[in-house]
Each structure stands twice: as C-alpha cells, then as structure tokens.
Symmetry: C2
Subunit: 144 residues, 2 copies
Amino acid sequence: MDKNKQTARFEEVCRENGLKVTHQRLEIYRTLAQSDAHPSAEALHKLLVEKMPTLSIDTVYRTLATFEELGLVKRVGTMASRARFEAKIDQHHHFFCDQCGQLIDFTWNSFDAMYIPEEMKGLGKILEKNVVLHGICSKCLSKK
Amino acid sequence: MDKNKQTARFEEVCRENGLKVTHQRLEIYRTLAQSDAHPSAEALHKLLVEKMPTLSIDTVYRTLATFEELGLVKRVGTMASRARFEAKIDQHHHFFCDQCGQLIDFTWNSFDAMYIPEEMKGLGKILEKNVVLHGICSKCLSKK
DNA sequence: TTAACTGCAAAACATTTGCACAACC
DNA sequence: GGTTGTGCAAATGTTTTGCAGTTAA
C-alpha cells in the first residue's frame, strides 16, 4: 500500500468511527505503518519524539489501544500482558479465546508434517513451528 | 505421562543440572503439569499457597524461569514482556528470533488454504489462523 | 462551541533483584 | 560446612488512569 492510500484509509476509518484525526494519531499510525520492526510502544515513542518532542508515552499507549479496537493495528505475539506457562512439552498448538482468554491445546499432524516454504530457509535456524488460532470459544459464544 | 513418570523425569532433569529438588520446585512443577489452564505465575501461586502458605510469588517467578531454561516448562504465547505492534493487516505469519527478538513477516499460501481438523470445529468460532516460527535468525547465527 | 484528545503526574500491575536466613547434599 | 534456594522487601519496568488544559470538527 502506498503512503497516500494508507493515509486516506486511515482518515476514512477515523471518520467512520467518530475519531478526530489528530497530528499525534496520524504520526503514530504512519510511523508504525512504515516500520517492519514490529516496535513496542516505547520504541515507537522513541522514534516519534524526534519529530514531536512533546508527545507522551501514554498517548502512544492510548492511541495504539484505540487503533487495535478499530482493527487498524495488531498486537503481535499473542495474548495479554502477563506471561502464562505450560509443562506440556510435546508438539501441539493453541486456540486462544480473545474474549475470556482461555487457551486450548490441540494437535494437528498434517500441519506438523508440512515443510515450510523453501524461500524461508534463509531466515535462519528454525526450532519450532506452531499454529495459533484466535477466536471466540464455544462457552463465550453461548453466553450471548 | 502419568504422575510418577512425570515426577521421575522432573527429578532426573534437576539432578542432571545440579539443581536441588526442593519442596517448592516439586510442587510448582506438579501443579503446572497437572493443569491445562496455562496459568500465569500469579495464578499458579494462588493455587499453591493453599498447600504452602509461605510460598512467595518471587519464588514462583524464579522457579518458572529456571524450569524454562531447562526446557521443563514453556512460556505460552510468544515473546518477551512488552507488547509489540504492526499495522500490516493482511494475512501473514511470523518468524521470531529467540536470541535477538527480531520479528520477520512471511506469507505461506499453502498453509492459508488448509482447513483446520474437523474435530476442532467444536472449539468455537475461529477468526484467525496463524503460524509462529521460533528459532535463531541468520544474523545471530553468523555472530557466533 | 463543545465533545474528544493530550500531557502530566501518579497509580496499578507484572516481574526482577539484593540480601540474610534456611534447607539440601 | 558449604553451596544453593527461599522469603522478605524494595526496585524496575510496563501499562493504565484521573484530571485539567488544549484542539479538531
């Protein structure tokens, strides 16, 4: 997507949702969109203060949260702010309920047997290959 | 794995690595191994204090970190403690370098075209289906 | 004009660390 | 006995929130 299209879409989404297109929001969005480093809030802030010295870190957090709700931005990795653990060591995958946070293990042999695309061998040494599903679990679905 | 086997393996791994098999370590490991809830450190601690009222939360953190290094336990989700973001919205996957934390996007059409196993339809409504690769990126590999 | 947004400062969490005592080998 | 582990308390790091002044529509 080129810069203008990106900005146009951004402004459209904001308007559709009654959000003001502020200087801060525009710059935060553009900086993130032009990065391929998957930056943290702090890393983004560090980039941005160069151009906007008064920008505060809490605005970055607030803005990213807003964008996430609108689907303009995604949180990479998977889930919430606290680490979770498992003692299950054998190959398996996870379904994560975005609503209640429940995690369910599953196995998927035909996936495990797949080879990753040739062109990705250059990435480095791959130690693990896992699937993460996101969605709403049946329990949460039936609550509505 | 049954309880005794699990405990036996646990004690073996500890001994191999010169770790003392303390009451705390054993109970933390067993409680995690017997849970399928993928608990956080705090959640584990809450379960454990019922039986060991003096167990402190920092021992739980320390112990989980130790177990993780030994490969007895895994951190679910993916990466480090701070959230990271991306504005890329189209379907893609991630390679994560466990050493330097670099994230690399990639596409995998033949995976995207796969249907998830029938028996997992009961999980709920699935909104996203992604692959996460873990490993060491080529940059880090060449550093050694 | 007016409701929404931002910056500041402080709070709320989550996680880690230093130190002294306790427990294991 | 000596080293390793634990609990306490305090420090760090990350993210969130209340409030009052500022700004986009």
